[in-house]
Symmetry: C2
Subunit: 252 residues, 2 copies
């Protein structure tokens, strides 16, 4: 049986086993939705970095750069954190460096694992299927907001857990998974309304990002599942699992 | 308006403002239920300590000592963490030193606040009324389990928030409070069953503590509200608020 665990804040990451697990990092509003969109629009890779300075250094080397703080685009950057900015004409075939307030931090905190995937409502079904293929324990890491628990990431964790539990090889391992699934069942009666009341939704609305919010609520519109490869997120349609099994066999 | 906040794990305490707030620490299974019971049975004070060594040192000085690790009583101690051990004949008029796996740690982590109260289902209504009297922001701190989020403390946080929101001077301040209230409404349809499935309930059942569990689920059976005074928990029926206001007036 594969166990499903949820880490509701990057500050709690050390309480969870991740080394042998598939980790799904989510930052629904908006980093993980934006990353999925960039790959759906043809981006070659995304390099997540924690600090603005790292992003500035990459920009000086000629990289396209996305950077957001306090919901707004940083002045030096080519993009902010809105999925609508990452259009095919701008990102297709490109390597992009990205730093956001919470999402890229969560990726760094969770990166020492078997396989790190990026999940959001826009690729919910695809990321569930990828976890099912891997047949390993799954740890869902919520980016939260300044290490605090947030509604939208917790709800995604509940939704992904519910999808995985349809497969009887998976089991909810902990109180955290039960809490998230209960929340998902409770909120799903009026999903959009529940999400729109979240603290970060209110911040984004105040910043004029209502279209972004509506977009982030769309479910399973992409079959893209970004994964971490070294220091880069990539999305490779070829069968990564077989490739890795081959590599493991060669090591043995 | 007084804001209600919830800290789901002691490891997240620095993300929350507590200095000017009333903090309610909860460890439903079982420390906070046991503390309320000891005071209801006449205990004079309880000194929460983090380590077993501190408890051993107090015992050498002649104190009655409660100590629990991994659900069992520590060999050196007079009591474990079962509320049934703290009977009137043993605790009435006594000072007791207490160390438990999670609860006493949470008290220490949260102690730098305006007023620290102990809450559990057994004193739910009384602790809500005390918060209403104080008319300040409220931070509910869940002891959790080894810094992980747990069902029973999160549900208590939701229940207490729901009580407080009946008073329109209080508002849910954050995503955390919404999550806990949603969980409370969801689980309350079959409260006992939901609680009994929690990870820690399962540990206690395996340890033979089914009676303790059933007891911890009782709601508002005591009007006792233990509060921290220096390094001791006390329960003083006299009006503590007026006393403190007087002290503040004297300082001014």
């Amino acid at each position: 049986m594969s166990k499903i665990e949820i880490c509701f804040s990057p500050a709690l990451i050390n309480q969870y086993v991740k080394k042998d697990s598939v980790v799904v990092v989510t930052d629904v509003f908006r980093a993980s939705t934006t990353i999925c969109t960039a790959f759906a629009n043809g981006a070659k890779s995304i390099i997540p970095v924690e600090s603005q300075q790292e992003a500035i250094d990459y920009k000086a080397k000629g990289y396209l750069t996305g950077a957001e703080r306090k919901v707004a685009r940083c002045d030096f950057a080519d993009f902010g954190n809105s999925p609508f900015e990452y259009t095919p004409d701008k990102v297709s075939g490109k390597e992009i460096v990205l730093t956001t307030s919470n999402g890229t931090r969560a990726i760094k905190a969770a990166s020492d694992c078997f396989l790190l995937l990026i999940g959001a409502f826009v690729n919910l079904r695809a990321v569930a299927e990828r976890c099912q293929k891997e047949s390993r324990d799954v740890l869902i890491v919520c980016a939260g907001w300044k290490d605090r628990i947030c509604v939208e990431d917790s709800l995604f964790a509940g939704a992904l857990t519910s999808c995985l539990l349809e497969d009887d090889r998976f089991q909810a391992a902990s109180d955290g998974t039960r809490i998230a699934v209960s929340l998902w069942h409770h909120a799903n009666k009026d999903f959009n309304k529940y999400m729109m009341k979240s603290e970060h939704a209110q911040r984004l609305l105040a910043g004029g990002f209502e279209d972004d919010l509506n977009y982030c609520l769309k479910q399973s519109i992409f079959d893209v599942v970004p994964e971490l490869n070294g220091n880069k997120l990539i999305y490779d349609k070829s069968d990564r699992i077989e490739k890795r099994e081959l590599e493991e066999a060669l090591v043995d």
